[in-house]
């Protein structure tokens, strides 16, 4: 019996120490924020992105008179760099980063710009329209997470819609009027970044510590990597998704 008490006491101490170590590792030595950089690449030939027939809305097809709009679920550059991959610290235990930046999600030429918008929990984002056709902006989160779906119209010249999300979630967003329009809100907690057209990214404002960085791509899912960031330094994490 006594043996059991001793065992549980030991266990508690170990657990507490681990927690403390984790906590200290990420917060106390906040002197000099660092960053995490890297490249996300696609291994193999990029899948064919189907063209979009916008003929049902003459405004949309006219806007693309000189180019062929296509799906954007895998956007790979000439060097294999993957665009629109969201990188975030999945074991972030601090508060949501208090960023005052307001990311913008524009409806332009009947497509979403950007196709993937990353943001922090509680961060305000703005939905704008540059089009002379009516859109409805309709995010579809799972209401059980605490993020509630809504559906608002944006006719030509409509004022921006400002919103935020309560919980971490990858949220698909669509326009019912133009069924080809689909995009993503990737709601994370803590610092994040999205890859550019060459697959490069930089997560700024990372306090020194050990982290797990997750890369999210809408077709290929997620990958993780361990990264150490020194005070004022830069950690590196490169990712490669296999083409399917």
């Amino acid at each position: 019996m006594r043996n059991r008490y001793r065992y549980s006491a030991l266990l508690s101490v170990v657990v507490l120490t681990c927690c403390a170590a984790l906590f200290l590792g990420q917060h106390v030595n906040a002197a000099g924020e660092g960053k995490i950089t890297g490249t996300v690449k696609l291994d193999g030939a990029a899948p064919h992105m189907k063209g979009i027939d916008m003929s049902k809305d003459p405004y949309c097809s006219k806007a693309h008179a000189n180019d062929t709009p296509h799906l954007e679920s895998v956007l790979a550059g000439a060097n294999g760099g993957l665009e629109n991959v969201v990188l975030y610290i999945s074991d972030w235990s601090g508060p949501a980063t208090a960023s005052t930046a307001v990311p913008v999600f524009d409806q332009k030429n009947c497509m979403y710009t950007p196709h993937v918008l990353a943001m922090d929990v509680g961060q305000t984002f703005k939905v704008t329209t540059s089009d002379q056709t009516t859109h409805n902006i309709h995010p579809l989160p799972n209401p059980m997470t605490g993020n509630i779906p809504w559906n608002q119209s944006q006719p030509p010249g409509a004022a921006p819609v400002e919103k935020s999300w309560k919980a971490v979630e990858v949220i698909p967003v669509k326009c019912n009027i133009h069924p080809w329009m689909n995009g993503w809100y990737v709601v994370v907690k803590g610092p994040y970044a999205t890859t550019d057209e060459n697959g490069n990214y930089t997560i700024n404002g990372v306090p020194p510590g050990n982290y797990t960085v997750t890369a999210w791509q809408e077709t290929y899912g997620t990958q993780t990597a361990k990264v150490t960031v020194a005070a004022g330094g830069a950690g590196t994490a490169d990712f490669t998704f296999k083409a399917k």
């Binding site: 043996n3 059991r4 065992y7 266990l11 049902k56 809305d57 003459p58 002379q132 056709t133 009516t134 409805n136 902006i137 309709h138 579809l140 209401p143 059980m144 997470t145 605490g146 509630i148 779906p149 809504w150 559906n151 608002q152 119209s153 944006q154 006719p155 030509p156 010249g157 409509a158 004022a159 819609v161 019912n176 009027i177 133009h178 069924p179």
Partner: protein, 288 residues
């Protein structure tokens, strides 16, 4: 002794790790509902109690809406539109803004009104007390009513006098916000986007056809129609226009929509006299 303890701690740890995500993501369990059985509703001076509605629900509602209120009752495969999933707490007919919970009164009215062109009949046979109890029962299926408050109902100004000018102005609103993209220029539900509409669960759904003599699902009074396009029908492609139609314009639009409906109305008569033509979908924005 030690090995036994190790086994136990492993087991407990593993259970905890497994149970953690389950609580938020998995189907709600019977135990979840039990914690919310004390749910109440307040409609006027009537207080509804969830626990008193159990019998009525099991007798009249369960066959479509299911034991757990997930809309997966025995009749699920045979009915279209599909029964509502009460666990999500998302409702078409609300007086509250898009993305918010409806009021108790909204649910109370929906039960009595039923849903035109669906398998949801008018349940006006229930007493008001029974209906209020059922509202509380419907609410007890979703944790959202524990964590959130219903939205603030939109303000509807008193209905102005119907005039030919207002009907004409309503036609301009219809053109400007492009109702015709789904509903069609004559309200026949044959706009360019009508054939590809899907509800939030990816199931095909039809836009409202004004010309068939059907009643709108969320009521057919002028105030109901005002409410429908200003709050939107959550869970469907119908968005909220509250940010883009001013209250006065909204009444104009209600009057214009009446001219598209099959039912005889003062508005229809006036439109006839005006010789009002349907909107031109090819006209540039702002030029009708």
């Amino acid at each position: 002794m030690r090995t036994r303890l190790q086994t136990w701690s492993l087991l407990v740890g593993a259970t905890a790790v497994l149970a953690l995500p389950m609580t938020s993501w998995a189907q709600l369990t019977q135990a979840d509902f039990e914690t919310r059985i004390g749910m109440e509703s307040h409609v006027g001076n009537i207080t509804g109690h969830a626990k008193d509605a159990k019998g009525d629900y099991r007798r009249y509602c369960v066959v479509c809406h299911g034991d757990n209120g997930d809309g997966n009752g025995e009749s699920f495969p045979w009915v279209d539109p599909k029964p509502r999933d009460f666990q999500l707490g998302i409702f078409k007919c609300r007086s509250t803004p898009t993305g918010t919970l409806p009021t108790d009164e909204d649910l109370f009215n929906t039960i009595a009104r039923g849903m035109d062109r669906s398998n949801m009949p008018q349940w006006s046979t229930f007493t008001k007390q029974e209906r209020a109890d059922l509202v509380a029962w419907v609410k007890h299926f979703s944790p959202r009513w524990t964590n959130e408050k219903p939205g603030t109902p939109i303000t509807i100004p008193p209905e102005p006098e119907i005039t030919p000018e207002r009907i004409k102005a309503g036609r301009d609103v219809f053109a400007r916000v492009q109702c015709w993209k789904c509903h069609g220029v004559l309200g026949q539900a044959n706009g360019p986007s009508a054939s590809t509409l899907q509800d939030d669960l990816g199931r095909p759904i039809a836009a409202f056809n004004f010309t068939e003599g059907a009643r709108p699902k969320c009521g057919d009074t002028d105030r109901d129609i005002y409410r429908i396009f200003m709050t939107g029908l959550d869970g469907t492609p119908m968005p909220s226009f509250a940010d883009n139609i001013k209250p006065d314009e909204a009444w104009d639009l209600v009057f214009y929509l009446r001219t598209l409906m099959k039912q005889h109305s003062k508005e229809k008569e006036m439109a006839k006299q005006l010789g009002l033509k349907p909107v031109d979908p090819n006209a540039p924005a702002g030029q009708q």
